[in-house]
């Protein structure tokens, strides 16, 4: 059994994980950067085709305070203001640092180009090229990681348990997917950077590794989660025709630059039936658009794939090309000619505001256990401002890496071999106890995704959420144990799917329980049975595991003394 040892273990090697590794290594720590997929190729950052919001003030006057104001407004009163401020204040430093490391931000007259995006009060959003921001920043970080002699990278290593002793993180147990070996990792500090849970939903913009594992790992290590009910649904995600090689949220800039028409399955405009008017040019707010589309589908007026049409046929081709040049060709390669056909769009799960509860050093309540990137909860409150996701990946990654290094320097070596062997026996028994006949784990994953979409999606009711909770409990307690896991040694995908599903079920339960208790509509959490915001619920929900069961309580949001905060 391979045994590894390091100062700082980083779980998940997307944007935040790589940034954390670089920061920790820069501060002198030995770093182990692991990913269940391939290092630097997974997670959400590499998928992002849009923009990064930072108050550089390059296009027009801007400030950290103004960026923070916009972020807090989007968060509908629930942001952890200290974390949100960290994102806004450190964002500019990270963007400049990334440029020094080789990222070519689009420039205009010698300055970094900044564009307007929904929810921002000034031009603030940087980008690389046409829809290439995520892949470009991921490439920069991969190169920087590979140049550091302090960082050891391991791909295809799935972390399944975080080890703790006396309230302190001491390492992890992992499964080496390539050869089925259990691997132990001794670490003086651990950073969870495997965030995102949109794979819980049938309709999503996720990669294969967004099943919410970071949240489940944090819970079972004794850390708390916060705001788990706030899943961001993007209203006009791409549904059909099948589009490959592109981000399914690509239509937003199209519709606001060109003025697409939003039509139901009978090619009628419908937004005016839902208290909004757009005069044939789709500009309704995200929540009204999402609601109107799903209500039309419910009334039997949806498109063949259960959404609405987004139609650009009234826009001349020259205008399409002027606005989106090479993207038009990529669409044509997919058989999508916008001058001849409308595309089908609808709400899809896109981002998770909730996550692991941390302080401004990114530490959880477990000493030596940190979170970074989308795994962190609280800074976005009830809704995330567009462009803040990559900013937080960089900022939280850098801060978590430095904090973890400090913690590693003062941490005593602590290892409990007996406990580790017990855990490995328990993990090993999953495979050995699985029946010879039964459904495959991936088939139950699909059922969970359908359930979450139908019962805990963009528009929720107490009744549907209660049904979902009962079914999730049944899946966890009964169905999960009846799944058939094939016994092959190398790349046992059934086994990988099983552990992923276990984490997905824990995370799904956290989302549904929180959604059920929040009897109001606020930001991304919309309850049809409680359609307005309730001032009494201007609080965060905090979850923890008690005797193996999820337990929730309400807590007041972290507020800044704003006059004090403007000094640094």
């Amino acid at each position: 059994m391979p045994q590894l040892s390091t100062d700082v273990l980083v779980v998940g090697a997307g944007g935040a994980g790589m940034y954390a590794a670089i920061a920790a290594a820069g501060d002198g720590a030995s770093v182990l950067l692991v990913d269940k997929g391939q290092v630097g190729r997974g997670g959400a950052t590499i998928m992002a085709q849009m923009t990064v919001a930072v108050a550089l003030g390059a296009a027009e006057p801007d400030s950290v305070e103004l960026h923070l104001e916009d972020t807090l407004r989007a968060g509908r009163g629930l942001c952890n203001e200290a974390l949100a401020r960290l994102v806004c204040s450190d964002g500019p430093k990270r963007i400049v640092e990334m440029e020094q490391w080789g990222t070519r931000w689009a420039r205009e007259q010698g300055r970094i180009k900044q564009e307007m995006a929904p929810g921002h009060s000034v031009k603030r959003c940087c980008y690389v090229d046409f829809l290439n921001t995520g892949p470009a920043v991921a490439a920069t970080l991969r190169r920087k990681v590979s140049e550091s002699t302090n960082i050891r990278r391991i791909s295809n290593l799935a972390v399944l348990e975080i080890l703790t002793r006396d309230g302190r993180a001491t390492g992890a147990v992992a499964l080496s997917l390539a050869d089925g070996e259990w691997v132990t990792i001794q670490a003086r500090a651990v950073i969870l950077a495997a965030g995102g849970l949109t794979k819980l939903y049938e309709r999503n913009s996720a990669s294969a590794n967004m099943g919410g594992e970071a949240y489940a790992l944090a819970l079972s290590a004794g850390a708390e989660l916060i705001d788990m009910e706030f899943v961001q649904f993007f209203p006009i995600g791409h549904l059909a025709p099948r589009l490959v090689g592109m981000d399914p949220i690509l239509w937003d800039p199209f519709r606001y630059k060109l003025g697409g028409k939003l039509l139901n399955g009978q090619f009628e405009e419908f937004i005016d039936r839902y208290g909004s008017t757009d005069f044939g040019r789709y500009n309704a707010t995200r929540d009204i658009a999402a609601y109107a589309i799903l209500k039309e589908v419910e009334a039997g007026r949806g498109t063949p794939h259960g959404g609405a049409y987004l139609d650009f046929r009234h826009i001349p081709e020259t205008q399409l090309r002027a606005a989106f040049g090479p993207v038009i060709d990529r669409l044509l390669a997919n058989g999508i000619d916008l001058t001849k056909m409308a595309v089908e769009v609808g709400p899809i799960a896109h981002y998770h505001m909730g996550g692991i509860r941390v302080d401004t050093n990114l530490q959880t309540r477990i000493e030596g256990l940190y979170a970074a990137g989308e795994a962190v909860g609280g800074s976005n409150g009830a809704n995330r401002l567009s462009g803040n996701a990559i900013t937080e990946a960089f900022v939280f990654g850098a801060r978590a890496g430095s904090s973890a290094t400090e913690a590693a320097q003062r941490a005593p070596a602590a290892w409990d071999q007996t406990l580790v062997e017990k855990i490995i026996d328990r993990l090993q028994s999953v495979c050995e106890n699985s029946p010879a006949q039964g459904a495959a784990p991936i088939a139950l994953q699909v059922k969970l995704q359908e359930l979450m979409w139908e019962q805990a999606g963009p528009f929720r009711t107490g009744e549907k959420l209660a049904e979902a909770l009962a079914r999730i409990e049944e899946m966890s307690k009964t169905d999960l144990l009846r799944l058939r896991i094939n016994r092959e040694r190398d790349f046992n995908l059934d086994l990988q799917d099983w552990f992923e599903l276990r984490a997905m079920l824990t995370t799904a339960e956290a989302v549904v329980r929180s959604a059920l208790a929040r009897t109001e509509s606020r930001g991304a959490h919309q309850r049809e049975d409680f359609p307005i915001a309730d001032a009494r619920l201007l609080k965060n929900q905090v979850l923890e595991l008690k005797d193996g069961n999820l337990s929730a309580r309400w807590a007041a949001p972290v507020r800044l003394n704003r006059s004090e905060s403007s000094h640094d």
Partner: protein
């Protein structure tokens, strides 16, 4: 889209681990216009044979670059290779060490245990 209803694609997939006799399994998959070869491989894992060994991460953004295989004899990213009705042969990359089914060893040496 109407003309794709009822159509199927047949995927002839090379199976087995290193050292085993090579064999091909053929799977029939419902076809929809615009589907990728990876969509079909994922459909097979969900509905027909979850043990089919495939490697992918980003699913359809063509960002992760980990889903390569031989499609009808050509090296392709399976996430952007279009499925067509009829028979398609999918095999592991020929110049990489085979691990199992369509999974080959594409991980750089310095990213291994």
């Amino acid at each position: 889209m109407i003309d794709s209803i009822g159509k199927t694609a047949r995927l002839r997939i090379r199976r087995g681990s290193v050292g085993e006799a090579v064999h091909y399994d053929t799977f029939e998959v419902p076809y929809e216009e615009g589907m990728s070869v990876l969509d079909a491989l994922r459909w097979i894992r969900i509905h027909l044979d979850s043990t089919l060994g495939i490697r992918y991460s980003c699913i359809n953004a063509n960002a992760c670059k980990t889903c390569m295989a031989l499609v009808n004899g050509e090296v392709e990213y399976t996430c952007i290779a279009k499925l067509t009705p009829g028979v398609i042969t999918v095999e592991p990359l020929p110049k990489r060490p085979l691990i199992r089914d369509l999974i080959t060893d594409v991980i750089p040496e310095d990213e291994k245990l």
